[in-house]
Symmetry: C2
Subunit: 204 residues, 2 copies
């Protein structure tokens, strides 16, 4: 078992701790179906009573979380997704990391046609270095290639299709790690089908 003591990861293992919250009495069914519909055979996944942890190659960690979110959101219920992605955390175990698999994402075809407008916020945290704000600014700019981007307190707001938002998140997370950040953390909140969604992104 790994933790912040023995702590997170050798540089090539990616991981995420996430939770998905359908605001519905049917939450158990929605979560279970979403977990079942996603093909998780190229990652290590463990669900407990607080979060679900997925570990493996970066491409599969994003592929699996994107698929689970989209399968839950397509029910039409108000679904919230919260995730902390991590790469390079010092001390992650090498075990159970599924690093021997190929790079072909298993869920790309099954979710690419699910249309789902969402509102999201993300924050990037490159740890251990002094120039981390420059890295953050550059990646916020890069995100604009994918979706609508606007300022928010302590984060950056994204409005658009969920599929494209996940593409953008994967890209900026990978670019941050590739740029030399030895330990990269990214928090993401996504809301789908909220009764309070308004066109807020455009007035910021």
């Amino acid at each position: 078992m790994t933790n912040q003591n023995q702590a997170c990861t050798k540089s090539d293992i990616a991981g995420v701790s996430f939770s998905i919250h359908p605001m519905s009495n049917a939450f158990i069914t929605i979560i279970k179906n979403a977990l079942k519909e996603a093909d998780t055979s190229k990652v290590h996944m463990k669900t407990d009573d607080v979060t679900t942890t997925v570990r493996g190659k970066l491409v599969h960690v994003f592929d699996v979380t994107k698929a689970i979110f989209l399968h839950a959101a397509k029910t039409g219920e108000h679904v919230a997704f919260q995730a902390t992605y991590s790469l390079g955390c010092p001390g992650d175990s090498q075990g159970d990391a599924f690093m021997e698999v190929d790079d072909v994402p298993l869920n790309a075809d099954s979710v690419k046609d699910i249309k789902q407008q969402v509102a999201a916020k993300f924050s990037l945290y490159p740890l251990g270095g002094g120039d981390y704000m420059d890295v953050i600014y550059a990646q916020i700019e890069a995100m604009k290639e994918y979706v609508s981007v606007s300022p928010a307190h302590y984060s950056t707001r994204l409005d658009g299709e969920a599929f494209e938002i996940f593409q953008g998140l994967e890209k900026v997370f990978k670019a941050t790690a590739d740029s030399g950040s030895s330990h990269t953390v990214m928090t993401v909140s996504i809301s789908a089908n909220s009764p309070s969604h308004k066109v807020e992104g455009s007035d910021a």
Copy 2:
């Protein structure tokens, strides 16, 4: 308006971006009542369709989020709480920060008798410095004074009373900032009344 571009905070303004998710068809009522029952008159608070932002003195930021969580959880519904606390983010605006108020927490008396067993995970991220892992290890040790602590992937698990967990989170967050971290971020996930709660903390 502030964001990661103009970005987060002058060192004495604390802030949090959080969301609370009741897994129930009555989620709107539960959220609205919890926000109403908490006394938020010593902080700046703004709710949008993704998260709620609270800014002000550290003591009040924790007082208000603890109260909102406890008022939602006491309904007995399965409630999830996700928060990213922040202090010292370079570029936070000085406006609307409610720094002129005194240090007396407004919600302490009204929530201190709400008994609510929860499972939680937290991660501390002191940014911009090279020895951040030592700071993290020290604060995980400090947390043991408050509640049961056990390892988890990319975070540390906490089991106990919600009131005490929030006391501990406030203490370690403040200690991290006081120890010299110029920009401190802490992510927290808390789950109350989950149908899948088990005694997991004891077997880690």
